[in-house]
């Protein structure tokens, strides 16, 4: 079953032109990205770079430790840091710096976010405590309790809190189309929630966030499944924000923003140019090495490799439009180098196999086809195992580990395409 290589060739040419368009920077008045602006993608396409290369935003948060005993302060600060780290990660910022700081008797958290300029958004995300509580009506109106807000005199707090939430997500009300936050409680939270709803059928239960009443729905029936929905007056953005905060957990201490500043890139352009120069030298070495080892085949592999690099860079750039934007830092670059190694390896595997088949007396054309089909199982298995590793690292990792895993996974996928489609199509055309 041989596909017509001509269609594949056009596909490759089309993709390459697209990749070149995406990769080109603005040249004078001509902006190659104008095509994308026409497609209503307002954001300009840029490579996202790390703090050292691009700069970003730095926030200093001061923890209000007035209610915490002296011995508990360091651990309260540490757990606040963990919550902030989670929120920033869920927010989609890659490779942030979050660290604790102690000055005299002040406890602080320093947050640095690469490439982010919308400080207002960041402020509202990480500045709020996100303490979610549920309140029910007092049995006897005479009992006095602290009320969460003026509307709620006669309410008392239940034992159900944001800590009982397993997972949250944003959904849309099927009737009104308004965004809402969907809660799923842990098994213990489910029990608590069932108890609260059982006790209060026909009565209101108030949902309170950071001492602000969000809503006060009346319980229709006992809910035993552990699912609940908050339908405050949300916009998509505020619903997303609340969902993120609840997923990351509440802050153990209130934090207030002490200062925020914009950080300029420090890794001077000289250092960047150095790494880039080394990268280009490395690339040339690969090309020479492949051409010496495999002659004509090596030239073809080098072309495939150039396309491979183009495709990858285009994907990095396009990723800045998605929430999974790739930040180019040294760890990401390490993932990229590894994936180039694997792309070269795929070519070497195929060529070595072809050599073997030729030695066994097969015709050139048969050797090409056999080279691919026999090398395929090893390319597939080795790459799938690499993909497994990178997916696991991505889902468990934070910061640098994530950036590395994402770049590696994309690189491996593109390298499989490059070896199987690009190299093969070129070979078939050359040896036809």
């Amino acid at each position: 079953m041989r596909k017509n290589p001509r269609y594949l060739l056009w596909l490759i040419i089309g993709l390459s032109i697209l990749a070149v368009f995406v990769n080109l920077p603005k040249i004078g008045n001509f902006n190659p990205n104008v095509v994308f602006e026409k497609l209503n993608i307002a954001k300009e396409l840029t490579f996202r770079k790390g703090l050292d290369l691009e700069g970003g935003t730095s926030l200093v948060l001061q923890a209000d430790m007035s209610n915490i005993s002296k011995a508990q302060k360091p651990s309260a600060l540490d757990s606040a840091k963990v919550v902030i780290e989670k929120r920033v990660n869920l927010f989609g910022v890659s490779e942030p710096i979050v660290q604790t700081s102690v000055v005299n008797s002040d406890y602080r958290i320093i947050v640095e976010l690469p490439g982010l300029t919308d400080t207002e958004k960041v402020r509202s995300l990480i500045g709020t405590t996100a303490q979610l509580t549920f309140w029910e009506q007092e049995a006897s109106a005479s009992a006095k309790t602290a009320s969460p807000s003026a509307d709620q005199i006669g309410f008392k707090q239940t034992n159900l809190t944001g800590a009982d939430i397993k997972q949250t997500s944003v959904s849309f009300d099927s009737n009104t189309g308004k965004p809402q936050v969907q809660l799923q409680f842990t098994s213990e939270g489910t029990k608590k929630f069932a108890d609260v709803t059982k006790r209060n059928i026909g009565k209101p239960v108030a949902i309170v966030l950071d001492n602000q009443l969000i809503e006060q729905p009346t319980v229709q029936q006992a809910i035993l499944t552990g699912d609940a929905v908050i339908t405050g007056n949300f916009t998509v953005e505020t619903a997303n924000q609340l969902s993120t905060q609840l997923n990351a957990g509440a802050l153990p201490v209130p934090l207030k923003i002490l200062s925020s500043s914009v950080i300029a890139p420090t890794l001077g352009t000289a250092s960047l140019e150095k790494s880039l120069f080394a990268g280009i030298i490395g690339f040339i070495i690969i090309v020479i090495f492949m051409c010496v080892l495999y002659r004509r085949l090596g030239v073809i592999a080098s072309f495939a490799l150039i396309l491979y690099t183009l495709f990858n860079l285009a994907i990095f750039k396009l990723s800045s439009l998605t929430p999974y934007g790739i930040t180019l830092t040294l760890s990401g670059i390490a993932g990229f180098i590894l994936s180039i190694g694997m792309a070269v390896d795929a070519n070497i595997l195929i060529f070595e196999r072809m050599k073997e088949e030729l030695r066994a007396g097969k015709s050139t054309e048969t050797a090409i086809e056999l080279g691919f089909s026999r090398a395929w199982s090893s390319i597939r298995d080795s790459n799938i195992s690499t993909l497994i590793t990178s997916f696991v690292l991505y889902s468990f990792g934070t910061g640098i580990v994530r950036g590395f895993a994402l770049v590696l996974a994309i690189g491996v996928l593109v390298s499989m395409f490059s070896a199987i489609v690009v190299t093969r199509t070129f070979l078939r055309l050359v040896y036809k």
Binding site: I285, I384, S385, S390
Partner: protein, 301 residues
């Protein structure tokens, strides 16, 4: 060439390389960087916007005083410097020297900061690696399920992960020694290097195993040892060429990439060499040794 015949020699070589590293790891541990241990953060406020030259000057002074710096950041008139923990006294001297070199400023902040890579990050990475290893064993067991008896696909999976652990131990052990005797630090880049080596190690091992699988299917598993040996020899060219390509690129990075990534590249070099060695001389021979054990047990029972 008979590689399998000398298999115990290769195991001995691996042991000789790993043991000193393990001893160093036990006695000296790892020389962790500021990113893991925390340190001090100084804020200097200048009167005018900070120039590149001033940043360079600050950099040079810390270098001369042999005070390790993690990051130097600037925001218009301010400069933030993360260093190893420094005492109040050291700080005073430093400020005086800095003022002479880069002009007048006022030190607006002196903070003690925690690690930027917390225990949680490392723990998560470790958890991820354990889960990934289990999944790799499962995947190989599945993908190699058709290898004819007496070989077993599960053993292929375990052997691949043993080779992976070998490479990680070589790398971490060596950097423990380098850390103790030459002050080389374990930083976030080292963590990435370890991850890279793990990716390469499994990749390389599977290519060798794939050949064994193919040959076993073709000629059956009657002479397992011979088949494994042939497969290694058939993939030797490829293993050598691939590793050489990667090593050449790394040498380019080592020579031209600048100081920031020097030890990172060294870690990658060590890992790639170890990864190539272990897939040929450890992973495949382990299959043979395991097969021998199974055969012997079957005979005696």
């Amino acid at each position: 060439m008979n590689i399998i015949g000398k298999k115990y020699w290769y195991f001995i070589i691996s042991t000789i390389i790993i043991i000193p590293g393990l001893i160093s790891l036990y006695f000296y541990g790892l020389n962790l960087s500021i990113e893991f241990r925390g340190g001090s953060r100084l804020t200097l406020s200048f009167e005018k916007t900070v120039t590149d030259k001033q940043i360079q000057g600050i950099h040079d002074i810390f270098n001369e005083k042999k005070i390790k710096v993690a990051t130097i950041e600037r925001s218009q008139q301010d400069v933030f410097i993360r260093t190893r923990p420094i005492t109040q006294e050291e700080d005073q001297f430093l400020i005086e020297d800095l003022k002479i070199r880069v002009g007048n400023f006022k030190q607006s902040q002196y903070e003690t900061v925690g690690p930027t890579i917390g225990g949680e990050t490392l723990l998560n990475a470790l958890k991820g690696l354990v889960i990934a290893s289990v999944l790799i064993v499962l995947y190989i067991t599945f993908s190699f399920r058709k290898v004819p008896k007496p070989a077993s696909s599960f053993r292929f999976g375990i052997a691949a992960v043993v080779a992976l652990v070998h490479d990680v131990l070589v790398l971490i052990g060596l950097f423990s020694i380098l850390g103790h005797f030459f002050g080389v630090e374990i930083d976030s880049l080292f963590v990435t290097a370890v991850l890279t080596v793990i990716g390469f190690s499994v990749h390389d091992t599977i290519v060798v195993f794939d050949r064994i699988r193919e040959n076993l299917k073709k000629i059956g598993g009657a002479d397992f040892e011979q088949t494994v040996n042939d497969s290694i020899l058939q993939t030797l060219d490829r293993s050598f060429n691939t590793s050489l390509t990667v090593i050449l690129v790394l040498f380019a990075l080592l020579l031209f990439g600048g100081e920031t990534i020097r030890w990172f590249v060294v870690a990658l070099l060590v890992g790639i060499i170890s990864g190539t060695y272990s897939s040929i001389f450890n992973a495949a021979p382990i299959l043979v040794v395991w097969q021998d054990l199974v055969n012997r047990r079957r005979k005696t029972s």
